[in-house]
């Protein structure tokens, strides 16, 4: 299993009486695009929050590169190489796009609070490096000419891109995208799809939580399906599309049971 | 004699704290807003009662209480509409909202100083000096009004939250604003209702406080201790606010005796910090409101 970069082992999380994620074990291969799908309320976002450390599991483990990171707080997981985006972009509304991405470089920086006040040459070197790297990232997601626009003044699609650029600034080896195409038009969706492929081609591992089946099936190398918090199926997109249980889960259930 | 009288006076003052704390809690529940002007609302109630009394000196105390509550309630309604609602609509940051409530508190206190003067005023009614002997203990008659009003308030709030549509709506909004909006509950209306009720409770605290001591423009500080009470009993909990108030009242009289009366003002906050160390959400936290 040396090729596994991210794995969960019997991951479980309950809220009150409700078990949102129930004994889920799956593995993500290094350098792959991995889809995580399931009907509404299947526990995808909860699984994401457990992996990124936003909430703690009731039981089970999260492994990164073979190392147990279950007890690491969210910010420390970023330093190890996991970074995420949110279902609705969570930005720093008063910062410009450039500042936002520069903030994303936080874990790669060295100059601390005292250094920020008292170091001169080292600080200006680091600042210049961070700035040029951030400008590069903005250019990559097509926001170079919006570098000085405040986040609050960007369009929805631009906000999404900016959030991705900010995540990339941390140079993660695994990126978790939570419904990255929600609210985007087809052109923007295609742009994101290409970006994700490019990221994989440069050696990143991508995990997608998605609603848009066409998007996720067209992009993913492997797909994991959750239903009611449990693992339902895992395989290549083709295998999943022909899986009876999955089809039933998506189509065969009465609509009333679908929870928000 | 000593201990009993201390405990009773602590509990009565605790009831006053509890009433202010209830208002604080209700507004927090309905709007997620920390209303730092709540203590000054109490002061306003006390002064409005005084004005009512100087216009109609023969009016029974209960009427004074009701008049002050209605007048302050209206006032609360206006403040909510004019100052808080627009800020909340704009989705303003918590810091702005807290500073806004602080500003309103300063304006209320200093406007009251200019209007009613810097000297404290006293309700010139027999109740202010009436003593009743119960089991050999001399007790001010207003104690019974305070305890009675507190009991009625708890019953009334319970009925409100369990039996009326408005009350249910208030609870729903506090638990899940988005869903309740989908269900046709207007969050604006609930915040108005919460504000009016909180202002009325604050006014009642002010009027009931007056015969015990006096009313002065700077008594909003009393209300600030009620914040500590609300937090000790967990923000948003009706029961908790009342118990928190009683705890602060008792701790002040008894603690004041032990560590010295010169530190009385610190006790409420010391207890609060201690409670929060042990139970970060207060004594009566409800788990359902985690997020």
């Amino acid at each position: 299993m040396t090729n596994t970069i991210l794995a969960t082992e019997k991951l479980t999380r309950s809220f009150g009486g409700l078990v949102a994620v129930d004994d889920v074990t799956f593995a993500v291969e290094r350098g792959s695009i991995h889809g995580l799908i399931g009907p509404n309320g299947a526990g995808k976002t909860t699984a994401f929050n457990l992996i990124s450390g936003l909430i703690a599991p009731s039981s089970g483990r999260v492994l990164f590169d073979g190392r147990d990171i279950t007890s690491l707080p969210a910010h420390a997981r970023v330093a190890t190489g996991i970074c995420r985006t949110f279902q609705t972009p969570q930005l720093f509304e008063d910062m410009t796009a450039l500042e936002t991405v520069m903030t994303g470089c936080h874990v790669k920086g060295r100059i601390g609070i005292a250094g920020g006040m008292f170091k001169f040459a080292a600080k200006s070197r680091e600042e210049a490096a961070i700035e040029s790297k951030s400008m590069g990232l903005l250019a990559e997601i097509g926001l170079a000419d919006h570098a000085d626009v405040q986040a609050r003044n960007l369009s929805y699609g631009q906000r999404r891109s900016l959030e991705i650029a900010r995540a990339l600034a941390a140079e993660p080896s695994v990126i978790l995208f939570d419904e990255v195409t929600a609210g985007l038009n087809p052109v923007e969706t295609d742009f994101i799809a290409n970006l994700i492929r490019r990221l994989r081609d440069t050696g990143r591992t991508i995990v997608l939580v998605e609603h848009d089946m066409r998007f996720v099936m067209g992009l993913s190398d492997r797909v994991t399906v959750l239903n009611f918090g449990r693992l339902l199926a895992e395989g290549t997109p083709a295998e999943i599309l022909s899986n009876e249980q999955v089809i039933e889960a998506y189509l065969g259930r009465p609509k009333e049971k679908v929870r928000g | 004699m000593n201990a009993v009288i201390q405990i009773l006076s602590g509990l009565t003052i605790g009831c006053i704290y509890g009433l202010v704390a209830l208002g604080f809690s209700m507004i927090f529940r309905a709007m997620g807003l920390v209303n730092f002007a709540q203590g000054d609302i109490m002061m306003l109630g006390g002064f409005l009662g005084y004005t009512a009394l100087s216009i109609a000196p023969e009016l029974p105390f209960v009427f004074i209480l009701v008049i002050a509550m209605i007048a302050t309630g209206l006032f609360g309604f206006v403040i909510e509409r004019v100052a808080y609602r627009p800020a909340l609509k704009r989705n303003a940051d918590q810091i702005y909202l807290v500073l806004l409530t602080l500003g309103i508190g300063i304006v209320l206190a200093n406007a009251a100083r200019l209007f009613w003067g810097a000297n404290p005023v006293v309700y010139k009614i027999p109740l202010t000096f009436d003593i009743v002997h119960v089991g050999g203990y001399p007790l001010p008659r207003v104690y019974f009004y305070i305890v009675g009003f507190m009991t009625l308030t708890i019953i009334a709030l319970n009925l409100l939250f369990t039996k009326t549509w408005t009350g249910l709506a208030l609870r729903a909004v506090s638990q899940d604003p988005t869903t309740s909006r989908l269900m046709g509950i207007d969050p604006g209306r609930s915040s108005s209702v919460a504000f009016v009720i909180a202002s009325m409770l604050g006014a009642a605290a002010g009027v009931l406080y007056a015969p015990l001591f006096y009313v002065s423009f700077d008594m909003g500080a009393v209300g600030l201790k009620a914040f500590a009470a609300a937090i000790i009993g967990s923000l948003g909990s009706v029961f908790g606010a009342v118990v928190g108030g009683l705890i602060v009242g008792l701790a002040e009289t008894i603690g004041g005796q032990i560590i010295g009366t010169e530190f009385q003002d610190s006790i409420a906050f010391a207890v609060m910090i201690a409670v929060l160390l042990l139970r970060p959400q207060g004594l009566f936290a409800q788990n359902r409101r985690v997020a």
Partner: protein, 378 residues
């Protein structure tokens, strides 16, 4: 911002220039709490001073001089009082400063007036140590806490035969310095101090203290504080049924004390800076008559002190101008030459250390009216 600042600067400059224009006008700063919880001291003192000044200007007692009062509010905050005083001296170029009311703000002002060598005259401040700093630029019209409370103790023992005294002390500079003198005299006379408790200035509920006090069973209670707390203490003593002769400092003369304490205030004793009607001299009677003619009521003790402050000042101006030019230094010297000056509160002398010698009236509240209990004039 630069423009704003320079505009403010220009304003300050013009104010300063205006000050130099008329040489006949003597500018006198007066600092005290005009707002905040202790506003009554500042506003009433100012009112009394203005009343006396009007009369003096009208009667031509000032000769060719004219006094302009420049008031400023300390709000009871020492820092604010110091700042106001510094401004008066530097920008308004005042001749001298009257103030402050509380001892803390008076001390704060001294730290400004003393190095600037400007004379300061306090109408009300009582802290004993204010006149014990070797400062030649300060004097006051009020008796020291030491004299005030010390004499009160002697009065309690000699006139009221107190045998066991319980002291309730406001825990600030004012209350503690009263208590020190009071306690010292009590002990010096071999009388028992049944208990001594300090309470926080903001305290409202005194029942815990009072029930302890009830158990000590004293035959005399001395409350050394301000009317807001003495009022509540006397009220709550009434509620607990504690009936002991009570000395409530200067409070019995303050209407709010009677309102707060209610029926329990009846019989309370106090000592006053000044008590209208206690002084039989011509000046004493004239003040009460004049005040009644204008305000239709007797003057309060602070109004009396403000009035007398101005009378003393007018006399000092007369003395200084008779001796030559009125300067910051000559006005100070004139103050220290005041001896047996007949003013509203009796005959006043300023002692070499800046303290005062004048009568001290003790009063009792009876049926809502103050009665002179004893006039200490030695």
């Amino acid at each position: 911002m630069l423009r704003n600042l320079s505009r403010l600067g220009a304003l300050a400059l013009s104010l300063a220039l205006a000050g130099q224009a008329s040489a006949q006008t003597l500018k006198i700063g007066i600092v005290g709490p005009l707002s905040g919880p202790s506003a009554v001291y500042g506003t009433e003192t100012l009112e009394g001073a203005r009343f006396a000044l009007e009369a003096a200007q009208a009667s031509g007692a000032l000769g060719s001089y004219k006094i302009e009062l420049i008031p400023d509010d300390s709000a009871g905050n020492p820092g604010r009082a110091a700042q106001a005083t510094a401004r008066m001296i530097a920008s308004d170029d005042v001749l001298m400063v009257i103030g402050g009311s509380t001892s803390a703000e008076t001390q704060a002002m001294i730290e400004v007036t003393r190095p600037a060598e400007v004379f300061q005259f306090s109408p009300l401040a009582q802290a004993t140590n204010l006149t014990q700093q070797g400062n030649k630029w300060f004097a006051r019209l009020s008796q020291t806490a030491d004299a005030f409370a010390g004499n009160a103790a002697i009065w309690a023992i000699e006139r009221h035969k107190a045998k066991s005294v319980y002291m309730l002390v406001r825990n600030d500079n004012y209350g503690q310095s009263l208590a020190e003198a009071f306690g010292r005299e009590i002990e010096a006379k071999g009388i028992k101090v049944a208990g001594r408790v300090a309470y926080e200035p903001a305290a409202k509920d005194f029942k815990p203290i009072l029930s302890t006090m009830g158990q000590a069973n004293p035959d005399f209670v001395a409350i050394l504080g301000l009317y807001t707390d003495t009022g509540l203490i006397v009220k709550q003593m009434g509620e607990l049924g504690i009936k002991v002769p009570t000395y409530a400092n200067t409070s019995p003369a303050i209407p709010q004390f009677i309102e707060i304490a209610g029926p329990a205030s009846d019989g309370a004793y106090g000592a006053l800076y000044y008590f209208a009607g206690s002084i039989d001299t011509a000046a004493g009677k004239k003040f009460v008559a004049d005040w009644n003619a204008k305000f239709k009521r007797d003057p309060s003790q602070y109004e009396g002190m403000g009035y007398d402050t101005m009378l003393v000042l007018v006399e000092a101006v007369k003395k200084a101008s008779a001796a030559g030019k009125v300067t910051r230094e000559s006005i100070r010297d004139a103050f220290f030459k005041i001896a047996d000056l007949p003013v509203a509160s009796g005959n006043v002398s300023i002692l070499p250390n800046g303290d005062v010698k004048r009568p001290l009236p003790f009063v009792q509240l009876k049926d809502g009216k103050l009665k002179l209990d004893f006039l200490l004039d030695k």
